[in-house]
């Protein structure tokens, strides 16, 4: 397929891999974190780790939007979904995420009207077509999905659709990266920066990572060659003693980002004082809520949600996995008590989650790793 196969060429991969082998210091071990769940998915789907030299380790960061939603928020979502007259709309991979009291899929089986949508505009259409129902959109995701929620709100406002509500759970990537950088267990050499998020926010917001923390970051696309080339660009910076923000995904990402998308976000949403991230705890100014002017569309104002904080299960080590302190399979419950069928932590739920990616795609290479170590 054109525009896809070019970015998956095994021959080019081999050449990049040889170039990487040529610039790494003998005996040194490198840990690079891909922040974004989309990259984790690409890495496992295509077997990128098999192509990298064994000295280069990829650590899977906190950028899986489904993984970072705390269980209490899932319970709140279910409470809204189970109200009479509510049509609760959500992206597909949020359906199976367990809260303290089951998942949306189970709520649906119990009778809640839960519908899968591909875009918040689909949810708005359901609202337009069903004026006697209250249609709620479960808004989750980083800056990648936030603009579409913002535009949908603007449209709901301009069309005067009053039976549409947004349950806002949008999070922002920079505070999460800051939290990881501030973690005392941190042992990372550089970051593969998120591609879709950067399409919106541009490359400037990452500069502090190079300046204050001395770590290189390269924004990368989502094809396996993108990831491989980004790894090469980080390792080249390290070899040359540089530390910068670079852009591998130039075919999409601009330095200033997408200003119209940023304007739409700023018009409709504002930062929350604090927000809980699964595994990482509360991070200040890390999530968005609707502005007061959009209060008529705010599900949190429309409904009394339980708002009960559910502590992560004790056995769950999602936080350490998200920070790259342990590999997924080093978690005490990985693959035994916690499986994609019965996830304890959300890292096991979405195919972008580090644990599910390991479980589904990586069991064999992990076997080789354990034999080797």
């Amino acid at each position: 397929m054109r525009f896809v196969d070019e970015y998956r060429s095994a021959d080019v991969a081999k050449r990049v891999s040889e170039q990487i082998a040529g610039i790494i210091e003998p005996g040194r071990h490198y840990k690079l974190m891909e922040v974004c769940g989309g990259h984790t998915h690409t890495i496992y789907k295509h077997g990128v780790e098999n192509v990298l030299p064994p000295e280069v380790d990829l650590i899977h960061g906190p950028g899986c939007p489904v993984c970072v939603i705390p269980m209490g928020r899932v319970d709140d979502a279910i409470a809204i979904a189970e109200r009479p007259n509510v049509v609760f709309t959500t992206f597909g991979d949020m359906l199976r995420v367990p809260g303290g009291n089951g998942s949306l899929l189970e709520a649906k089986a119990r009778g809640a009207d839960v519908r899968l949508v591909y875009s918040p505009l689909d949810a708005l259409r359901i609202a337009r077509e069903n004026p006697d129902r209250e249609v709620v959109f479960f808004a989750i995701g980083f800056e990648t999905t936030t603009p579409s929620t913002a535009l949908t709100l603007l449209r709901a406002c301009s069309e005067g659709i009053r039976n549409f509500y947004v349950f806002a759970n949008h999070v922002t990537i920079i505070p999460a990266i800051r939290a990881i950088l501030a973690s005392p267990d941190l042992r990372l050499d550089g970051f593969i920066g998120p591609g879709h998020v950067s399409t919106v926010i541009g490359t400037r917001p990452y500069r502090f990572i190079a300046r204050e923390w001395g770590k290189p970051l390269v924004v990368a696309g989502f094809e396996p060659l993108d990831v491989l080339q980004a790894a090469y660009m980080i390792l080249r910076q390290l070899a040359e003693g540089r530390c910068q923000v670079e852009n591998q995904y130039t075919r999409v990402v601009r330095e200033e980002g997408n200003t119209r998308a940023l304007e739409a976000i700023a018009e409709t949403m504002e930062l929350r004082t604090t927000f809980e991230w699964r595994g990482l705890g509360f991070i200040s100014q890390s999530a968005l809520k609707l502005r007061e002017e959009f209060g008529d569309w705010d599900a949190e104002l429309r409904y009394d949600v339980p708002g009960v904080r559910v502590a992560d299960p004790k056995a769950c080590q999602c936080g350490e996995v998200l920070k790259g302190v342990i590999k997924p399979w080093e978690c005490k419950v990985f693959g035994t008590a916690c499986t994609p069928e019965r996830p304890i932590g959300t890292c096991m739920v979405s195919s972008e989650g580090a644990c599910a990616a390991y479980y589904n795609y990586g069991r064999f290479s992990r076997r080789l790793e354990t034999v080797a170590t």
Binding site: A10, A13, K45, G47, E49, P224, T339, E352
Partner: protein, 350 residues
Amino acid sequence: MLAAVERRRRLKPKLRDEIVTLAHGAGGKSSHVLVEALFLEELGNPLLAPLADAAVFSQNGTRLALTTDSYVVKPLFFPGGDIGELAVNGTVNDLAMMGARPLYLTAGFIVEEGFPTVELRRIAASMGAAARAAGVAIVAGDTKVVEREKGDGVYINTAGVGVLERDLELSPALVRPGDKILVSGTLGDHGMAVMVARGSLELEVSLESDTAPLNGLVDGLLGATDGVRCLRDLTRGGLATVLNEVALAADVGIVIEEARLPVRAEVNGACEILGIDPLYVANEGKLMAVVAPGAADVAQAALASHELGRDACIVGEIRDEPPGLVLLETAFGGRRVVDMLVGDPLPRIC
């Protein structure tokens, strides 16, 4: 640690869900748990136990195959077919996968109050045409009507009986390391055609379901070589699910090569957009064959000589390691496990 994960995976499944969810009907792990830990426990007998496409038994010296399947597809009419054609072909194919010649089918209709008779006639006519094309007759039937909103228009159940005229056994338990794996054509056509026909994606691609009776194709294959060990049609759950079932049943490893998998560009494109893997997408007119190493080329030629097997190709082979796992050599030069899905393939957020 790894041993613990593997042991866990091989444990007899336990049904821990208190209610049935859609995941139990999607053909993946949840479906398996429901069937093995509930139905097999309550209904188990030696003929049911292999959980094959059809049960095979002897009566007065004649070997017969018996199967049943229910059809709940939405929309009822989709590019390339409809629920009626699907209901005939699906049951014909389940019989063909055991090496049987399909003879007679039954049809049960559960119709929703308010359903237009003109559409019901269209479905019945399409079943008649499909039955004639497959060389079977629908010889018994039943009709029930349920209240409005208690069904999606119409559900159909078909059962079928066939006769095994060749002295052969086809079973995943018979596959051996070194055997080759063939598929009869492009993967994922039916599943993506139906997903696109639901209209919620607003994708403009022309995709048609591949629904077709495979008994003629199978007859040609079995006539060409006696090296066929196992046949499976690649319905719900796709090639990935079938390969996992074979790997577990035979306790063998399976390696397939991504570069050899036949997938239409349109299907690939739609899958890329949705973040769905065509390996898990349903087919209704494709089969997988495991054949002895020496018979692979003959088998491929036999499949390719039939109209429904034009794109047949060898996609991988059986290995002794790692037992119970399916591995994919990616076109990128990496390697990964292809596991069974838990439920339906869900579109990814980004």
